[in-house]
């Protein structure tokens, strides 16, 4: 099975994050890591590869620094990587990101595309759907479990209430939540081998995409302004001096919680 995993480099969600002067995510100074959910996607791909054979390819669209995350991803075990890198991509919206990723996928002919269900920076949760739509293949999103039976993929889609069982034939895009598995640590041998694994870089011209279709130039929407979320207001303390219950009910109803 030919599997492609979509891996995005994001600023570490555990440290201070911000937006740059042009209202895009600050990636230059940040401590950048693999989008956490994508590690689960890689793990799932490796498990399927172990059972079914075939090849696992990492696909990333991102600036030069994203190469670090590609190496890290490869050290977990995938065979090779494709890095889409082009100055014109800066400022791309979700629509144009999906256009680029879909075009790159077109060159790879995957049976299965696995992505994280969301990134920790953009958090739009739309990439898997958009890519599937552009490629004209099924989208099995939000999986907490994935089984492969020949050409049939079955997922358990995690929902608020429980889960849904969804099936599709390959090729398809599957997006996964962090409930699906426990990602492995990069092995020592894997780290040493990663350096020698092929990483192909593609520019927009290689994908037949004009610079004007992506980046700020082609953005379907624009971030005009941003502000930090105001700090949480100190809550209201209800002291129980005999009528604490009543005060509590009054508070809850005034806030329309009950």
């Amino acid at each position: 099975m030919n599997i492609v995993v979509l891996v995005k480099q994001v600023p570490d969600s555990g440290s201070e994050r911000g937006l740059a002067g042009d209202n895009t995510v600050e990636r230059q100074s940040a401590n950048n890591v693999i989008n956490e959910m994508d590690e689960y996607a890689i793990e799932e791909a490796l498990r399927i590869q172990a059972a079914e054979g075939g090849e696992v390819t990492i696909l990333t669209m991102g600036p030069e620094r994203a190469a670090e995350s590609i190496r890290k991803a490869l050290s977990m075990g995938p065979d090779k990587a494709v890095h889409v890198i082009d100055d014109a991509l800066h400022g791309s919206c979700a629509l144009s990101t999906s256009k680029v990723l879909a075009a790159a996928l077109g060159t790879l002919n995957p049976d299965l595309v696995i992505a994280g269900a969301e990134s920790t920076d953009g958090r739009v949760q739309v990439m898997p759907h958009m890519i599937a739509e552009r490629l004209g293949i099924a989208a099995l999103t939000g999986a907490r479990k994935l089984t492969v039976d020949g050409g049939t993929l079955t997922i358990e889609r995690q929902t608020e209430e429980g889960y849904e069982v969804v099936t599709a034939a390959t090729p398809a895009v599957v997006s996964v939540w962090d409930t699906i598995n426990e990602p492995r640590y990069p092995s020592f041998k894997g780290i040493m081998a990663a350096k020698k694994k092929p990483v192909q870089t593609l520019a927009l011209a290689d994908l037949g995409i004009e610079a004007g279709e992506v980046g700020f130039a082609g953005a379907s929407s624009e971030v005009v302004e941003h502000a930090k979320r105001p700090p949480r207001q100190g809550g209201q303390k209800v002291a129980d001096d005999g009528n604490g219950g009543a005060a509590l009910v009054e508070f809850l109803s005034s806030e329309k919680f009950v």
Binding site: K72, S75, R184, Y185, S187, F188, K189, G190, I191, K195
Partner: protein
């Protein structure tokens, strides 16, 4: 000049860091709780389980050759990993290690002692120090007398790490009184506990503790000589030498963690209506700590790098051990001072570091012995001022 790490160094460090953060650090409060109750902070079975988890992704035997399943890492990478380990006070270390001199064993001895030690099935200890011979290790008195094919060992060893848990000891004893202990007069033996030596725990200011070993006519078969007869002291010095850059590498991790705690505390604790961090007295402690920490880091990495160059690293390693051990004690002392009374309690790891780190200036060559080596190298002209840049 390039002070950056290679991609591999970064990746190896990152993996060790993630493992320590996810698997080891969650045990920290429990370790403190147990030690307050005078129990071992981490039981052997728990250590082995953690080591097994790390082994699953190949982090096993940092210094062990590949043919024994180890990683055989360059010294710089080992140093980086030990710094990561030092960040947590959980007494964790990666598995798959054995005393460096066990690799001088012959094939049968390797199967009996080396491989099971690497696999964690046997526990070794190394014994050269005696009540009358510490810094002056050549003054050892334990005798090894030939008796047919056997040797008979008599004497006492002291301050032996793992001495109470070990099931065999690597013991250096005087095998020929007519020769200098350093040159032909001493021999190293592999001695099973079942051959009759006894151990007694020595309580110390640290957690856990060494033991004294008593040899009362312990009969050791001739096949248990490690290396050659007469090679004992040389092997002993190799054993002591191996840790010279590892010990301070660990200390760098301790100092980093401790300093981070101090910064956090200084930024939040208020006295006289403002945070501690606004006082110059506190700021200077933080500045001095970071400066010394960085100085130690580079001294240590340079020593490790010297090992990797395959050139004589003794001088560089002695400076790294001397300075790194001193640095961590000074940093922990300041960090304790910044924490005030809280730093003195057993709720926080600081007093623990204060006790544990003191050992670093004593074992595997005291501060004074490092100075002896460093100055002797210079005074006798073995070493150029300026090291490899001279």
């Amino acid at each position: 000049m390039d002070f950056s790490l290679s991609d591999e160094e970064k990746a190896v460090r990152e993996t060790a860091r993630t493992f320590i953060r996810k698997e080891v650090m969650p045990l920290e409060q429990e370790v403190l709780r147990r030690e307050r109750a005078h129990e071992p902070g981490l039981r052997l079975d728990e250590l082995r389980e953690l080591q097994g988890k790390a082994r699953a992704f190949g982090f096993w035997g940092l210094a062990t050759p590949e043919e024994y399943g180890g990683m055989d890492l360059p010294a710089v990478m080992q140093s980086l990993i030990w710094t990561e380990i030092g960040r947590s006070w959980v007494p964790f270390r990666f598995g798959g290690e054995a005393d460096n001199i066990l690799f001088f064993a012959n094939e049968e001895q390797k199967a009996e002692f080396l491989v099971p030690t690497i696999e964690g099935e046997r526990i070794s200890c190394f014994a050269i120090t005696e009540p009358g011979a510490g810094s002056d290790a050549a003054n050892i008195r334990m005798t090894a007398r030939r008796d047919g094919d056997d040797w008979v060992l008599d004497g006492e060893k002291t301050f032996i790490t793992n001495g109470n848990d070990a099931d065999f000891a690597i013991v250096v004893a005087v095998s020929d009184r007519d020769q200098d202990v350093r040159a032909g007069g001493s021999t190293a033996f592999l001695v099973d506990r079942s051959m009759g030596w006894r151990s007694e725990f020595i309580p110390t200011m640290g957690e856990g503790g060494p033991a004294s070993l008593v040899f009362d006519s312990v009969r050791v078969p001739g096949r248990n000589v490690l290396g050659e007869v007469g090679q004992g002291f040389a092997l002993g010095m190799q054993w002591i030498g191996k840790g010279r850059y590892i010990i301070p590498s660990h200390a760098v991790g301790v100092a980093e963690r401790a300093l981070r705690m101090a910064i956090e505390h200084a930024n939040t604790r208020e006295t006289f209506g403002k945070t501690l961090s606004t006082n110059q007295a506190i700021q200077w402690m933080i500045a001095d700590s970071e400066t010394e920490l960085e100085a130690a880091r580079w001294l240590i990495l340079r020593a490790a790098w010297t090992v990797d160059q395959g050139t004589d690293a003794r001088h560089a390693s002695s400076m790294a051990k001397l300075y790194g051990a001193r640095m961590v004690n000074d940093v922990v002392d300041r960090v304790l001072q910044i924490h005030g009374g809280m730093g003195y309690t057993r709720e926080l790891p600081i007093e623990r570091w204060y006790r544990q780190m003191r050992l670093l200036r004593i074992f595997e060559g005291t501060d004074e012995m490092q100075r002896l080596i460093i100055s002797r190298d210079l005074l006798r002209g073995y070493t150029e001022i300026g090291g490899h840049l001279a």
